[in-house]
């Protein structure tokens, strides 16, 4: 090895090309991602807002509500992204601030209290109060990191739900004052009002736009403002300091950053955004209920942040769209069926990766189906006469796969267990043995799907949704638009 000369310090080919590697996208999504990289943040936002603004024109009736759910999730996930994605604080109590904002608005804008606050006063106060609560709750946990912080904050989330469930009546106040409504929640929350214009569930533009459009655009405007604000915050000294803090708290302290104050600020900003989103949620839903703020909701928020790419604003918005929209997509059995078979095809391509083997597998499954059907119908004719799900795909498969008329649940349950055994065999086996195991496994999966899962939408939705998440995270562990973690060697 030669001694390093003055100019050669630290020069390394791999390092030199690393910029190029980061820019050069590969795979079939590369053109889209290159285009995305070329756009400025401003034009990205404009495009997103334009696309989102046309949504109510394209859908019918109450489908606008799905859009509202997506936008609200995007807002609240962006707030969570400040705490988790930027400052790196694992806050599991976040949903409590969302609930706090929602309940606060519901209490001051319904018949719970005699005083009805005007919206333009209520919203700023709610944001400030949520931020203050966030800062206060971060005080006892400011010395905790990682798992310990998570446990501590999880406790806050639980306390909040228990409080609103049980504090119907406060001590020392008149009996008729029912603050949180207990397990029944608070129905009849007034809509958002701005200079006499009510953002209620009515139509817009003389009926051109369906119901709920007013609320949809209200949330969209807030989301747009939030994205602009967060983009500037991320680019500021504080934003960079948060990221430094996330990467290495000790080093950040050595750079004289006020670590505790920065953590507190992150909690406060996140909580403020959550409070705002909560208040909007309360106006959109016209009511608040304890179960709107349970741990499942928190998991959905985290899923949006992690799936989209923790730390990236467009990523989190995209993650929220995916998380909120995919379950809606799966409500329709035709689309769910399509997703199932596309999923199977993807698994096949990833697992096998050779055309001859893929052809052998598909052919094998087809032949196996015909053989099973031939013998089964000779022995027991009830095995082909069962009810068929009313989608074109299922009708197409009706002459191939078994359809049990009786004993359907028992048989498919056994088939399900066998399919899982098959999956294990597929994972263990190599070469052509893998194909041999794959053929019956695929057949069993299709059998179970057509006989059981299509008829049980709620279970199927969750199963498929879980599968979609697993596949997506396996393909892109850093999230859809996240940056891959760089470790110092």
């Amino acid at each position: 090895m030669t001694a390093p000369d003055e100019t050669g310090i630290g020069v390394d080919e791999w390092v030199e090309q690393s910029e190029g590697r980061r820019e050069g996208h590969t795979g079939f999504t590369a053109p889209a991602r290159r285009l995305f990289d070329k756009l400025t943040p401003g034009s990205r936002l404009t495009l997103f807002l334009l696309a989102a603004a046309t949504y109510p024109f394209l859908v019918r009736g109450s489908d606008v509500r799905i859009g509202i759910t997506i936008l609200l999730l995007a807002m609240v996930a962006l707030g969570l992204n400040v705490v988790v994605g930027w400052a790196g604080l694992l806050d599991l109590g976040y949903v409590a601030f969302y609930g706090f904002g929602a309940y606060f608005y519901a209490i001051v804008a319904s018949d719970q209290l005699p005083a009805h606050w005007p919206t333009w006063i209520a919203i700023p106060i709610i944001v400030a109060a949520s931020a203050l609560l966030g800062a206060l709750l971060s005080l006892p946990s400011r010395r905790l990191v990682g798992d310990y912080l998570a446990i501590m904050t999880l406790f806050f989330a639980q306390i909040f739900v228990e409080l609103v469930r049980n504090f119907e009546r406060l001590p020392f106040v008149p009996d008729d004052l029912n603050l949180t409504g207990g397990p029944n929640g608070i129905p009849g929350v007034k809509p958002f009002e701005f200079f006499g214009f009510e953002f209620n569930g009515q139509e817009l533009l003389g009926g051109t736009l369906p119901t709920f459009s007013r609320q949809y655009y209200l949330v969209l405007v807030f989301l747009g403002l939030l994205i602009v604000g967060l983009h500037n915050l991320n680019d500021s000294r504080t934003g960079r300091a948060w990221r430094a803090l996330r990467e290495d708290t000790l080093a950040a302290e050595h750079m004289t950053m006020p670590v505790n104050r920065l953590k507190l600020l992150a909690f406060a900003v996140g909580a403020g955004i959550a409070g705002l989103s909560g208040a909007l949620f309360a106006t959109v839903q016209n009511g608040v209920f304890p179960n709107n703020f349970n741990l499942f909701v928190l998991i959905i928020m985290y899923a949006a942040v992690i799936l989209g790419g923790s730390g990236s604003i467009p990523g989190v918005v995209l993650g929220a769209v995916a998380i909120a929209y995919v379950p809606e997509l799966l409500r329709d059995p035709t689309k769910a069926g399509l997703l199932f078979y596309v999923g199977i095809a993807v698994v096949l391509f990833v697992l096998v990766r050779r055309w001859d083997k893929i052809a052998a597998t598909v052919g094998g499954v087809f032949v196996l189906g015909l053989v099973v059907r031939f013998f089964s119908s000779r022995i027991w004719d009830e095995s082909i006469l069962g009810e068929v799900n009313d989608t074109s795909l299922s009708r197409l498969l009706d002459d191939w796969v078994l359809n049990f008329e009786s004993q359907r649940d028992v048989i498919t349950s056994y088939a399900f267990v066998l399919a899982i055994v098959g999956v294990l065999l597929v994972v263990l086996a190599t070469g052509w043995w893998k194909i041999a195991a794959l053929i019956p496994t695929l057949y069993l999966a299709i059998l179970v799907w057509e006989n059981k899962l299509v008829f049980q939408p709620s279970i199927t939705r969750q199963l498929l949704f879980g599968a979609v998440l697993v596949v997506m995270m396996a393909v892109r562990p850093q999230g859809l638009l996240g940056t891959r973690r760089v470790e110092i060697m």
């Binding site: 020069v11 980061r22 990467e247 973690r485």
Partner: protein, 238 residues
């Protein structure tokens, strides 16, 4: 500030961790413009000395004077604000942030315009100017050392403290690392370097102190120390 006064002076410092007496009457000084190295084997008190200078631990007795001012009871932030800077052990860069952002973090405490100092750092390490938008974590070890030094220099320090700059680096990179330190020193920064690699450290330092079990056992000109038999003793404990 008195020109004759040393930049940093430790006077009879005794530091304890609970009951354990770590630093036992340490006295040392660094004059402006000097490169001083603090040597010693494992558990000799090197890191504790550094922590005492930075104010991460407070001595039970003795004083720490910085630029003629008694800073013994002052906070770390105060000391860094008044001209100390640290290059931590293992560099501790912010890996997913760019080189430029890392450098900006070094100037976190400063409210004024620091673009000139940024240019100074780029002049010292032209490679960093080329790589300023590259993520720090993708740099090689030597380049990371440059970023760590540059980041520390961004606060315009009077005294640069370095904790084991050769730690965890390949032998070739150790050499590079010392070249980088020399370059910074030539640019007029006073440096206190804590090291285990005695030969390397003494080859570039002006003065050296050797610690063993919390006491200074040897002190003097670097060249003289390098030739001293006692140095080997201090290291090997014989």
């Amino acid at each position: 500030m008195n020109d004759q006064a040393p930049l940093l002076a430790l006077k009879d410092v005794n530091t304890y961790y609970g009951q354990i007496h770590i630093l036992q009457g340490i006295s040392m000084e660094i004059k402006a413009g000097e490169l001083v190295c603090l040597l010693g084997g494992n558990a000799s008190g090197k890191s504790t000395t550094l922590k005492t200078i930075l104010g991460i631990v407070t001595p039970r007795s003795g004083t720490v004077e910085f630029q003629g001012m008694d800073v013994t009871s002052k906070s770390t932030t105060f000391r860094i604000g008044h001209g100390m800077a640290i290059v931590p052990e293992n560099r501790r860069l912010f890996a997913p942030m760019t080189v430029l952002e890392n450098l900006e973090m070094g100037a976190y405490l400063r409210e004024d315009d620091f673009s000139e100092d940024l240019n100074d750092v780029y002049e010292l390490f032209p490679l960093l100017a080329e790589r300023k938008h590259q993520l720090a974590g993708t740099l090689s070890g030597g380049e990371q050392q440059m970023v760590a030094m540059g980041r520390a220099l961004m606060s315009k320090p009077k005294l640069l403290l370095m904790d084991e700059p050769s730690m965890g680096l390949a032998p070739v990179l150790v050499e590079q690392s010392f070249e980088i330190i020399q370059r910074v020193h030539r640019a007029g920064v006073s440096i206190l370097m804590v090291e285990q690699n005695a030969n390397m450290a003494l080859s570039i330092a002006d003065h050296g102190y050797v610690l063993a079990t919390g006491r200074i056992v040897l002190a003097g000109e670097a060249a003289a120390l390098a030739a001293d038999e006692g140095l080997k003793k201090a290291y090997l404990g014989r």
